[in-house]
């Protein structure tokens, strides 16, 4: 029977999964990192192997699995202690079970005494010859030697239990006139089951006042029936409007009441009292307390979630990407719809707009859900770093400790993938150049062991990754000297310390005086910076000489869709990423000051902020009168703010990011393009680049740097 063979295969495949669950569950228990559910899950898995083996007639497998399961049952109901010896026996049993499954799969009959040693050990755990453990072999297939009388059911009578209803029925005055006879209804009711009727005559008037076509008598009925309540109610369908009617189900609640079996997971398992619950509630407390103490230890072994079977499913990345693309198209189509609705007369558009708002809401949620499917914890990259640090510190004979936090921060997987190189590079730099040798550290009064802290977290729609070390920091003199040597900075330029520190991001800059084995091969921080910028991120650094430095990466959460503000300058439309916007305002002309060497300064709440006219900068003439328009305060990096003057804000919307770099190369000030609701293409602005292009500087010393795609020179106020 070939389908039987196929089913056998299915069973063995299931066994593969089950055996794995058993193995990993037991391993967790052995390591002490299990929850109460773990033992339960192992028990269930062994039981499933036994059940399937029973169906397919693998006697030996059933026999062994039964002994195994009995011990697990004792353990899960706290009748047997979880000691490492006991768990070792279980692990050995799991091996035997695996062997037995393998033999059965290969079509061999295992030798009768196979695994006997283990079996004996299991039986001993249960206190030697526990009846329950030994019992199974003696039974004839089919029945237990217990008194059991099958309960017969007559299906024709219906399967619903006998129910009792109390029915109060008072025909209204119009009932007879409408041609309905209450007696017919009572007859129909009688057909449903056992009916007891009581007539209510209290409304019967004196004879002289009786109208012949008016019913005065009401009835109270007790009905015992196996029919569902709906059928009882159905009897009154035609007279429902013409009578007083109450149908009450008075069926006594069965003695075995388990409460409403709400079909929710968790609440419904094992409601019985006498049947050994997975873990007795009293036993839960000490274990939970133990888990609590474990949680405070370092490492990730605490709070290990029970390995739930089949709560996740693997999906090809390509399929998810297809959904991401479709969501992108949906966002565009929806924007177009919005545009059309906007152009309709208000009488029509109002209702449409309401629905559209809902669609927008749902699309946003859809987008978030899909994006979360693509999201991956940054831990995937972080986990490679401890090894890197270990290797590097061994090579450089330095003592370095790596601390990581926020590994579970999630970000789109494409960003996780792109993070690897920059992070590796930065950490290399930190160990190689940042952290000093133990001797130097001791001399500087620091602990011998240097510390690198790697952390990740969400901050305002972005993910921020920080790499901080307590090393020597940047030596500004050395950086400046090198920059002058390479002609990166004019010989007479007068730079602040921050500006000097930022020079390390310039192309072709390497600070290591000797090119070491590890870093300093010319692939410098400029490449790191470009990598980060390519994915729409920002990199910034703070260094304190002798105390260490912090490099901060601020990255977008996703590369596919983002929130943007659509703006207009002249006849051009652009999109400013919402994540870069701080505020928008329409300042009076009097608040804008022309200062020599600047493009204008905006006085905002007592502070001066550089502003740039976007029309001027991108060479698209503004039609607006000078000084008009809207100023968007944007962020162009850590602590760097400036105003962007545009003609008009057109609205906030989700935009789909379409890369243009492949086709057109890198365009200054533009990070990507998008398609707007009217079907036109708009460029997405890169505020950081715009800031550089505007070359807003404290005049005029560092002009030279601008020529070289200068880093964002801090403009502190």
């Amino acid at each position: 029977m070939s389908s039987f063979e196929q089913l056998k295969q299915t069973f063995f495949d299931e066994c593969g999964d089950l055996l794995q669950q058993i193995e990993s569950g037991l391993t967790d228990i052995r390591e002490g990192s299990h929850s109460d559910d773990t033992i339960n899950a192992v028990f269930r898995a062994v039981h499933s192997v036994k059940g399937g083996a029973g169906i397919f007639g693998f006697e030996h497998l059933v026999g062994f699995a039964h002994v195994f399961e009995t011990v697990l049952d004792a353990m899960r109901s706290d009748r047997l202690a979880v000691t490492s010896d006991n768990v070792d026996t279980l692990l050995a049993s799991s091996d035997v079970l695996t062997d037995l499954v393998a033999m059965s799969r290969a079509g061999e009959t295992p030798p009768a005494d196979y695994g006997n040693e283990c079996r004996t050990a299991l039986q001993q755990l249960m206190g030697g010859g526990d009846e329950d453990v030994v019992a199974d072999d003696g039974e004839a297939a089919g029945d237990f030697d217990i008194e059991f009388t099958p309960v017969q059911i007559n299906l024709d009578e219906g399967i619903a239990g006998e129910q009792q209803f109390e029915i109060t029925f008072r025909p209204g005055p119009e009932m007879l006139r409408k041609g309905s006879d209450p007696l017919n209804i009572l007859r129909e009711l009688r057909q449903l089951g056992k009916l007891e009727l009581t007539a209510e005559t209290d409304r019967l008037p004196v004879l002289s006042e009786i109208e012949f076509d008016r019913p005065y008598i009401g009835w109270t009925a007790r009905l015992e029936t196996t029919r569902p309540q709906a059928e009882v109610e159905g009897v009154f369908d035609f007279v429902a409007g013409d009578c007083e009617l109450a149908i009450v189900n008075t069926t006594p609640v069965p003695a075995l009441d388990i409460g409403l079996p709400a079909p929710a997971a968790g609440e419904t398992s094992l409601p019985s009292v006498d049947f050994a619950p997975p873990i007795a509630p009293e036993a839960e407390k000490p274990k939970a307390a133990a888990a609590g103490t474990r949680a405070s230890e370092p490492g990730e072994k605490s709070a290990a979630p029970p390995k739930a079977a089949a709560t996740t499913t693997r999906v090809e990345l390509e399929k998810i990407d297809r959904v991401v693309n479709m969501v992108g198209e949906l966002v565009i189509a929806q924007a177009m719809l919005g545009q059309i609705v906007h152009e309709l007369p208000e009488s029509v558009s109002a209702r449409l707009q309401q629905t559209l708002d809902e669609v927008v809401h749902h699309t946003r949620e859809l987008k978030d859900s899909v994006m979360s499917m693509r999201a991956q914890p940054v831990g995937a990259v972080f986990q490679r770093m401890p090894r890197l640090v270990r290797e590097l510190s061994a090579k450089t004979a330095k003592k370095v400790r790596l601390e990581m936090t926020g590994e579970s921060t999630e970000v789109d997987r494409s960003i996780v993938e792109m993070l690897s190189d920059p992070l590796t590079h930065i950490i290399r730099n930190s160990v190689d150049h940042g952290i000093e040798s133990p001797a130097n550290r001791t001399a500087a009064g620091k602990p011998e062991e240097g510390t690198i802290r790697l952390s990740a977290g969400h901050r305002g729609g972005r993910i921020v990754i920080e790499i901080a070390d307590d090393g020597a920091g940047i030596n500004p003199e050395r950086v400046l000297k090198k920059a002058r040597e390479r002609g990166l900075v004019a010989p007479d330029a007068n730079l602040t310390e921050d500006e000097i520190n930022n020079l390390i991001f310039m192309p072709g800059f390497s600070t290591a005086e000797t090119v070491s084995d590890i870093s300093g091969r010319g692939v410098g921080m400029d490449v790191v910076r470009r990598n980060i910028q390519d994915i729409g991120g920002r990199i910034s650094l703070k260094s304190e000489r002798g105390r260490g430095m912090i490099i901060q990466l601020a990255l977008p959460l996703t590369l596919a869709v983002m929130d943007g503000m659509v703006i207009r300058v002249g006849r051009e439309t652009y999109v400013v990423p919402m994540s870069a916007m701080v505020e928008c305002l329409r300042p009076p002309r009097s608040d804008i000051h022309d200062l020599v060497g600047t493009r204008g300064m905006l006085k905002l709440r007592g502070e001066l902020l550089p502003i740039v006219d976007l029309g001027d900068l991108l060479d698209v003439r503004s039609t607006e009168a000078e000084g008009g328009g809207v100023v968007i305060i944007t962020e162009a990096g850590e602590d760097i703010r400036f105003g962007l003057r545009v003609d008009e804000l057109c609205g906030h919307q989700q935009v789909v990011i379409k890369s243009i770099e492949e086709s057109y190369g890198s365009i200054p000030g533009i990070s990507a393009a998008t398609i707007l609701g009217n079907g036109r293409v708009a460029f997405i602005l890169d505020t950081e680049k715009l800031y550089e292009m505007a070359a807003i500087q404290p005049p005029p010393s560092a002009m030279a740097a601008a020529k070289y795609d200068a880093p964002a020179m801090a403009m502190r106020n």
Binding site: T10, F11, G52, V62, Q152, P228, N249, S269, P271, S272
Partner: protein
Amino acid sequence: MPVASTLKVLIVDDQNSVRQMTRMTLEELGISLVHEAENGVSAFQTATLQPIDLIISDFNMPEMDGLGLLRAVRGHAAIRKLPFILLTGRGDRELVVKAAQAGVNNYLVKPFTTAILREKIEQVVGKLT
């Protein structure tokens, strides 16, 4: 007298292989209207929503086990009398005692032959035709 070809049976087991095996055996008896459920919770939903004549359920399942399902069925007015056959493994006699207390109609020990399955079903619903 129930007609095999119109008897609607719900098989409950978390293992696909066991469900298929049971289904195959039922088909040999001419019972082809077979529903399946993977655990007690979804079985209970099926039993309350679909016209089912007989449940054959395993005991050991995640979410809600066979005993839980039995109690849920017996506690629900509309399907209180639904015939319930518990599938057990050898050595699970204690369980059968509990199931009997909870109102199980019959039990069936794995492995079972077509003849035994017929016998067990007929003990509950009468001779199949």
